[in-house]
Symmetry: C2
Subunit: 207 residues, 2 copies
């Protein structure tokens, strides 16, 4: 992705406003607390945005892959619970401070100008992902959520046969439904001839 390589250049040419750090699996990348203007870019690896609720249950709020952008800057100021980003694999992360993106850095580094538009690109990308999730979450039944999800996968891949790119357990989390209820609904969809299913490979049989 072009935006990412521009940023890497800026970094390597010595822009002091960008930090690059490495994390091992299970290490804490950042917490969303008093870092209002922190923007992070995951250059490689996988990470989860985690909340521990009042009962101490771990709740996966979001998850990030290569080229994803995240940070407290994307979240409301007033959150009840602390959010943490935890590495799910070895990660390389760029850290930027929001204000630094707008104002030029002291050394007036020549890559600074591209920063703002690169961040905008990634942020737009993030918005597309969010809207996609809102799309499926706003369906009222598990069946509709699944069909909506499959339909999006199908149009991305230009194919009526889609492979769910995450575990079914994680899919249930993504759709915010009970996993066993989702499994049941997958079976119903298959029994009623809407789909055929082999593991996480789904063939859409309707229309």
């Amino acid at each position: 992705m072009d935006e990412i390589s521009s940023l890497i250049n800026a970094l390597e040419q010595g822009c002091s406003k960008i930090q690059k750090k490495y994390f091992k699996k299970n290490e804490i990348i950042t917490t969303y607390i008093q870092k209002r203007s922190q923007i992070c870019i995951l250059m490689s690896g996988k990470a989860d945005l985690i909340r521990y609720d009042l009962n101490g249950n771990k709740d996966i709020v979001d998850n990030f892959n290569s080229n994803d952008i995240f940070g407290e800057a994307f979240y409301p100021v007033h959150t009840n619970n602390e959010l943490s980003v935890i590495a799910n694999a070895n990660c390389c992360v760029l850290f930027l401070v929001h204000d630094d993106i707008l104002r030029k850095c002291k050394s007036n580094c020549k890559f600074h100008n591209i920063l703002s538009s690169s961040i905008l690109e990634l942020t737009l990308n993030n918005a597309i992902h969010q809207n996609t999730r809102i799309e499926v979450l706003s369906k009222r039944s598990i069946r509709e959520k699944l069909l909506s999800y499959f339909s999006i996968l199908s149009s991305k891949d230009f194919s009526k046969t889609v492979t769910i790119p995450i575990s079914l357990t994680n899919l249930a989390d993504y759709l915010s439904v009970d996993r066993s209820a989702m499994m049941r609904e997958l079976k119903n969809l298959a029994n009623e001839g809407f789909i055929s299913k082999n593991g996480s490979k789904i063939k859409l049989l309707y229309k």
Copy 2:
């Protein structure tokens, strides 16, 4: 909002890349079809993002207020149904083309530089709203959705008494639940002493 006034300046100083248009209630502001790079900013008024589903039912996907940013650029490339933005009141809208934000306009207008960061600000703002909605949508029961929604309102207002800023009908849409089921749950919450309710004024009684 600073970003908006910067944009207005850019416009009024004659940047040819920005268009300003006025719409009356019920007029179509734009459609999300083959306008991949269109970015719109609602300077005043209210608007809804609408989808007509297969049965011809009107489905309100999102709604926009002053200073909100929207456009096909925020949506996945492959959408099944056509999305339209309809004015809900008299609206003033700025239209920008995404590529123009990145490259400088021919006249090299001096306000062009601020464009990118202004758009970034608005886009980050948009992400915050989206994350807030995902937060409530990902709650599994109507009760949890309501409590989560109230809790967010409460921390915004620094008060245990909140006024729902939209109609209850629209709130049910926002939470993606059946309106009558939501009304029932509001009554249950009141009966069980979690809240007290007077119209759209809600007092939080827990903790």
